[in-house]
Structure formats: structure tokens, C-alpha cells
């Protein structure tokens, strides 16, 4: 059954493409195989249908998903995102994460926050938080602490840097374990970089000019191949500064 997936790994698939599985012949004692279908693949009775266009990717042993390019973010539980606080109403903050609804962030969901000791969050602040509730039927909820109660890098940030938007594909490439783009960027000049999975990236370097250069480089590296990108970074490292 996995074979019909494995044939198509790395191929571009369109919505409407179907993977049908024949039931194994009763003589062969094949163990039923489990396949985990990720984003872009949906089960429809006994078939698996493709519902987004993109490249079929595979992670051993049995995870398959469609890698598609998108600009619009849809909240998913567990993802860390950069949000902008838009309103304070009573005990919760309303945060814009770029999805179809504003997410809510309770004031107690910060490290060391109690009813007496409220966190210092104003309207317009940037927060780095993760989703604890994110499904299509409910309003998404964010928290700035992990399951142990520690901040772990999350919370309010953003003094003096620059926030901009990129596509979700580029963000996933930046957050990949050995990301080439981040490695190339760290060779240029020292900077702080916060990447949210909702397509928002925040950079801060020593001067405004360097910050803007970094922002432009990241935005343009979306459509470049690795060699073009490295050539551009080398030109900036030598020429511009």
C-alpha cells in the first residue's frame, strides 16, 4: 500500500489525484500497514485524496504530506507564531496572528504571572507564543509558557527591530534543523532573528541599515536557488558594507 505513495514521492500532485488501494489477496498474510497522512492529504472512505497542489514528501517510516506554497496562515496546535496585540479586554489579550480570527491570550499565560503580578503587555506589542487550541470550530488560544510553566523563549519582544511577512514555505525552510539560509545569514553580521510559523519574521541588527538589508535579503531568498542566494550574500558581505 505504501508503494503507490512511494512511487510519487517528489512529484507534483494536483487536487483531485487519488491513491486507491486494492485489498490484499486473502492468501498472502500481509500485515496491515499504517500510513500517516499529513497536510494536503485527506482520507475519503478507502481512498486517500490530494486536496492541495504541491510536492509529495516522505519521512521514514510512514509519514507522507504535500509540501505546498502558501501565503495565508491557518492556525495549527503547537506551532509557535509571532502575534501583534490588538486589544485588551478584561483578562485576555486579543492577538492578530494573520489567520481568519483573532487569537486570545490570557494574562496568566506568562512566566511568573499571577493575579496580582500582571505582565506588562500593551496594545501593539509583539508576542512570540504557541497555540494550545487551534481547530476550525473554536477560537484559537495562545500561551507564552510551555507545559512546565517556563517561558522558553516566548513572551513579549520587539524593541527596535523590524517585522515583515514572507511566505510559509520560506518560514519552514528557515526553521528546518540545518537551515542553509540561516547559516549563510549568520556569516554576514550579528543579528537577532525571530521566525514565526505564520509567515512573520522579525530581525534586529546593530544599525537600521543592516536591519533593512537583512529584511530585503530574506524576502528575496524565497525565489532563489541555493547558488544564486550564496552569490548574493557574498556580494553583500564584500560590497555593501
Amino acid at each position: 500500500m505504501i508503494n503507490c505513495f512511494k512511487e510519487k514521492i517528489g512529484e507534483v500532485l494536483l487536487p483531485g489525484d487519488v491513491f486507491t488501494f486494492e485489498p490484499p489477496a486473502p492468501e498472502t498474510n500481509l500485515k496491515p500497514e499504517k500510513v500517516v497522512c499529513g497536510p494536503g492529504l485527506r482520507r475519503d472512505g478507502d481512498d486517500v485524496r490530494v486536496c492541495k497542489c504541491g510536492v509529495l514528501r516522505h519521512k521514514t517510516p510512514n509519514v507522507f504530506w504535500i509540501d505546498s506554497q502558501q501565503k495565508r496562515y491557518v492556525p495549527v496546535k503547537g506551532e509557535t507564531v509571532i502575534g501583534v496585540v490588538t486589544a485588551k479586554s478584561g483578562d485576555i489579550f486579543k492577538v492578530d496572528v494573520g489567520g481568519s480570527e483573532l487569537a486570545s491570550l490570557s494574562y496568566l499565560a506568562f512566566e511568573g504571572a499571577t493575579k496580582r503580578n500582571r505582565p506588562n503587555v500593551q496594545v501593539g506589542d509583539l508576542v512570540f507564543a504557541q497555540f494550545i487550541i487551534a481547530n476550525k470550530d473554536m477560537e484559537p488560544e495562545l500561551v507564552c509558557i510551555d507545559s512546565c510553566g517556563r517561558a522558553n523563549g516566548m513572551g513579549v519582544f520587539g524593541e527596535g527591530g523590524f517585522l515583515f511577512r514572507v511566505s510559509l514555505g520560506l518560514v519552514r525552510r528557515l526553521l528546518a534543523p540545518q537551515s542553509e539560509i540561516v547559516a549563510d545569514l549568520s556569516g554576514l553580521f550579528p543579528c537577532e532573528l525571530v521566525v514565526g510559523m505564520n509567515g512573520r519574521v522579525w530581525v534586529k541588527a546593530k544599525s537600521t541599515q543592516q536591519t533593512l538589508i537583512l529584511a530585503n535579503l530574506l524576502e528575496s531568498s524565497e525565489n532563489m536557488t541555493a547558488t544564486q542566494r550564496q552569490a548574493l550574500f557574498r556580494r553583500v558581505a564584500d560590497g555593501a558594507l
Binding site: 517528489g10 507534483v12 494536483l14 487536487p15 483531485g16 487519488v18 494536503g40 485527506r42 485524496r49 486536496c51 492541495k52 497542489c53 504541491g54 510536492v55 505546498s68 506554497q69 502558501q70 501565503k71 495565508r72 491557518v74 489567520g99 481568519s100 480570527e101 476550525k136 470550530d137 514555505g169 525552510r173 525565489n223 536557488t225 541555493a226
Partner: protein, 222 residues
């Protein structure tokens, strides 16, 4: 009228498309059939006004802007056709209480405008990454005064015809999702036209596949 249907292979004009050409919408595409050119942009899933929200599905709005003047009744009729087709193809139950907005701008009309709008809409929805159960394409046929069925007519051929039909065909079973007809046609002519459209749609779906493959070829290599 004596019916003469030529079993010629469904010949369409040259088509071309470009995806992701606008920076602000979540998905955009431009589709060209001969000289007819339509630009489509999709925004969504985004916030929806409480008066328009549907509790279990996404709210789809289609806006067609003509090249000259304000949208009128003709555009509203076309919007209705495009909206019915898109709602059938999209998995809108995955985004309840959200809005999807599809804006189609007519750049040039040289015949088969509704079909071109449908094709541009499908490519823009794919570009935006909205989940769809199938793809769709639009084909226009006319029956001219000799009884001949012509696929993908130009504006002049449309004016000289006695009947004009547009069909939306789905990609899985090649069934008709939407039909819009003008003029008088016999049942047999209609069935012949549907058969010819289904054959012509193969070519359009192959074109979708090759243009999406070309688009992903750069990132697949990364």
C-alpha cells in the same frame, strides 16, 4: 434545421497562464485564451462579517469587474455561475466562519469570457493553497448557422452563432458541474457539445498540471 456535427478534434486557441503575479492577495493567477485575458485574485480564509458568516462552511464571494464601466447584471450572472462551480469544488467545511473572496478582472474579451474566468479562478484557488476536492475548467461552445459546433470561439464567432453554451467540467470524472446556455439548441446538439467539451477539457487539465509542475520545479530542487 439539419444537424451536421463534425467530429473534428476539439481545437482550442493557444492558452497561457501565470501564477502568483500579485503580491498582496493570498493567491493570484492570470489566464489567457487566444486574446481573452482574465486576472484572478483570491483572499482567504479571512475574517468574515457576522451577518455573512455561515456556521459550518466558508463564505465565498465572487466579484467580476468588466474592463470598462461598473459591474452590471451580466457580471452578476457570471459571478453566480463561477460561485456555484467554486463552492462545489472547494472543501469549504474546513474553514467555517471564514470568508473567501475571489476577484476576477477582465483584461480583454475576445470570446469565451466565462470559460476564461473559470480557468483563472481555478488556477488562483490552487495558488492560494485552498483545499479543493477536484479541479475544474471552463469550456465555451457555439453552434453557428451551419450547425457546426465550435469550441473556444472568438468574439466574432460568438456574434455569428445561434447558440452559445459554457460548461464547467470537473477533473476527476469529467462531469458537468455548471452549464450556462443562450440561444436554442436541440437535445442531441447539447449532448454532442458536452461530449466535445469533455474531450477539450483533457487538454486544459494537462496544461494545469504542466504549469504547476513548472512552478514547483524551482523549489523541488531546493
Amino acid at each position: 434545421m439539419d444537424l451536421k456535427v463534425h467530429e473534428a478534434s476539439p481545437a482550442t486557441r493557444e492558452f497561457g497562464c501565470e501564477q502568483n503575479l500579485l503580491s498582496r492577495p493570498d493567491g493570484s493567477a492570470s489566464f489567457i485564451q487566444g486574446n481573452t485575458n482574465v486576472l484572478a485574485a483570491v483572499y482567504g480564509p479571512a475574517e468574515v462579517k457576522v451577518s455573512k458568516e455561515i456556521y459550518d462552511r466558508a463564505t465565498l464571494e465572487v466579484l467580476i469587474q468588466p474592463k470598462v464601466g461598473l459591474p452590471g447584471v451580466r457580471e452578476r450572472a457570471r459571478e453566480q455561475c463561477v460561485r456555484e462551480t467554486c463552492e462545489a469544488a472547494l472543501l469549504s467545511s474546513l474553514h467555517p466562519r471564514s470568508s473567501l473572496t475571489l476577484i476576477l478582472q477582465e483584461i480583454h474579451d475576445d470570446g469565451s469570457l466565462l470559460a476564461c474566468c473559470l480557468n483563472a479562478a481555478c488556477m488562483a484557488l490552487m495558488d492560494a493553497g485552498l483545499p479543493m476536492s477536484c479541479l475544474f475548467c471552463g469550456i465555451t461552445c457555439v453552434i453557428n448557422m451551419d450547425g457546426q459546433i465550435i469550441i473556444d470561439p472568438t468574439l466574432q464567432q460568438e456574434k455569428d452563432s445561434r447558440a452559445l453554451m459554457t460548461f464547467a467540467i470537473d477533473s476527476i470524472d469529467k462531469r458537468v458541474m455548471m452549464s450556462s446556455t443562450k440561444g436554442s439548441i436541440s437535445v442531441q446538439e447539447l449532448q454532442e457539445a458536452i461530449a466535445l467539451s469533455q474531450r477539450a477539457s483533457e487538454r486544459i487539465f494537462q496544461f494545469y498540471r504542466s504549469s504547476v509542475c513548472r512552478r514547483y520545479s524551482k523549489t523541488a530542487a531546493n
